[in-house]
């Protein structure tokens, strides 16, 4: 299997060309910007919370296929989830990407995410795949910190 076949699987290209939940939420509960320090790609994440549920999520971004696809898959995976669950999914995803020898496999509901497993072989591009997820975690952490501060 050539590198290209592996990396640019149909699933990834599909999300790249037709990113889900792309755009802006006006009146979002949370808004967070993220930057990939390696290439300068930037995205803005919007979340609408209903109590502890992520009722809506949208991402505005311009980026490479990996970063766009990962963002898109992320929105699908966490929309409608409780915050706690979203954090667990995010940590599972980061584990999959960052830990050598970790063969975490997402179940059917989130199986698209498994297509990003191939990015592990390209350490420089792991940052692309993680950008949206790190931005999400940062955003939720800030929200928690704020809630505790109140």
């Amino acid at each position: 299997m050539s590198l290209q076949d592996e990396l640019y699987k149909e699933t990834i290209l599909d999300h790249y060309h037709c990113p889900r939940n792309h755009g802006v939420i006006s009146g979002a509960t949370l808004k967070q910007e993220g930057t990939n320090p390696l290439c300068g790609d930037e995205l803005t994440l919007y979340i609408k919370l209903n109590n502890d549920t992520i009722e809506d999520i949208k991402i505005e971004a311009k980026g490479c296929s990996i970063s766009m696809a990962s963002s898109s898959m992320m929105t699908e995976a966490i929309i409608g989830q409780k915050i706690k669950n979203a954090q667990i999914i995010a940590h599972n995803f980061k584990d999959m990407m960052l830990n050598k020898g970790n063969d975490y496999v997402f179940n059917e509901t989130n199986e698209d995410l498994n297509s990003l497993n191939g990015v592990k072989k390209y350490p420089v591009r792991i940052k692309c795949a993680l950008l949206a997820w790190n931005t999400l975690l940062q955003s939720l952490e800030k929200d928690e910190a704020k809630a505790q501060g109140e």
């Binding site: 290209q4 990396l7 640019y8 790249y16 290439c39 790609d41 980026g63 490479c64 296929s65």
Partner: protein, 412 residues
Amino acid sequence: MLDVKKIKRDFPILNHYIDGKPLVYLDNAATTQKPKVVIDAISNFYENYNANIHRGIHTLSQKATIAYEETRLNVQKFINAKSYQEIIFTRNTTESINLVAYSWARHNLKAGDEILLSQMEHHANLIPWYELAKEKQITLKYIPLTNDFRLDLSNIDNLLTPQTKLVSLTLMSNVLGTINDLTSIIQKAHALGALVLIDAAQAIAHMPIDVQKLNCDFLAFSFHKILGPTGVGVLWGRQKLLTDMPPFLTGGNMIASVYTDRATFNELPYKFEAGTPDIANVIASNEALNYLNAIGYADIMAHEKCLTAYALDILVKQENIILYGPNNTINRGSVISFNLNQIHPHDLGQVINDSGIAVRAGHHCCQPLMRQFNITGTIRASLYIYNDEADIDILAKTLQSAYKVMGHVVTR
């Protein structure tokens, strides 16, 4: 002209296969490959006369000291400096520029002073000045670019003012390939009492440099971009300036006498070389100079001109290509940046890499320039003495497959 086949044989890595494919190395603006003589000089040092330098009386230390200082003398000749005392070894261009920012600028500039840069500068020649500007309320000004990616000097007489204390410019852009003729700027800057620092990190690989002819005040470059090892940079400065500057890094070797509360400093250039330097790599750098001198810049320049013309000619014909840089070879080096419409440079870089070609994809440490073009990055193919037309042909062929791999419908 260069005998590229023969040159290739001098570079072990070019005779190897990467992922089963022969390496096509077009990332020379990031770092060049190293000839065997340079690699061997490092092993030879460690296997035969490794020792710390300058203060050792024993034979190894003397041999190491002589070899280390031999490189300095050769650098002096290479850039035609007046004295070996003007040659300071640093880690890289970045440290050389920081040295000037910390030691000269921090002690000579004050609020209201101005530094003139350009829109094509590398982060190494930007961030040190941003930090200084913040600390000291100094104003940074920028020479803009023309539509054909050159310095726009039409407004230079307004950009340079009596407040201008430093003009810090690259001699060759690491993104656009543009070679800047700095003669008139340097004259005008000096007429106003400003100093001129030249970032020669790119230029040094592609053209002969004569600091006395350039008539600049500081000049910085890195050996890893001219066939030498990583870890060795050079700062050249006028002796009078260096003499008056306070030291930057302090510690062993840069002192004359140390008391319990004060120290007097060593003579130039040692005043600026604190602690144990990168001895092996400085010594091996000499072989890089010898190798370049043996080829000669006349032939290097002729070779690059032909190859760049060939590459521009082929690339400009690619579908949906956008080139960033002068479209001819006048005052232009062999660094070629481009994008394919609609494809992110990271993706294109990956596709190119999968054909065994090493190019760089990204902002090339020139984010302000990228913002100017309203892009996040480019693909950059940078050519050197061991590249030939076949390398360009492979690159062009790969580009033709990119839209298919990325699942785009090609639109004309």
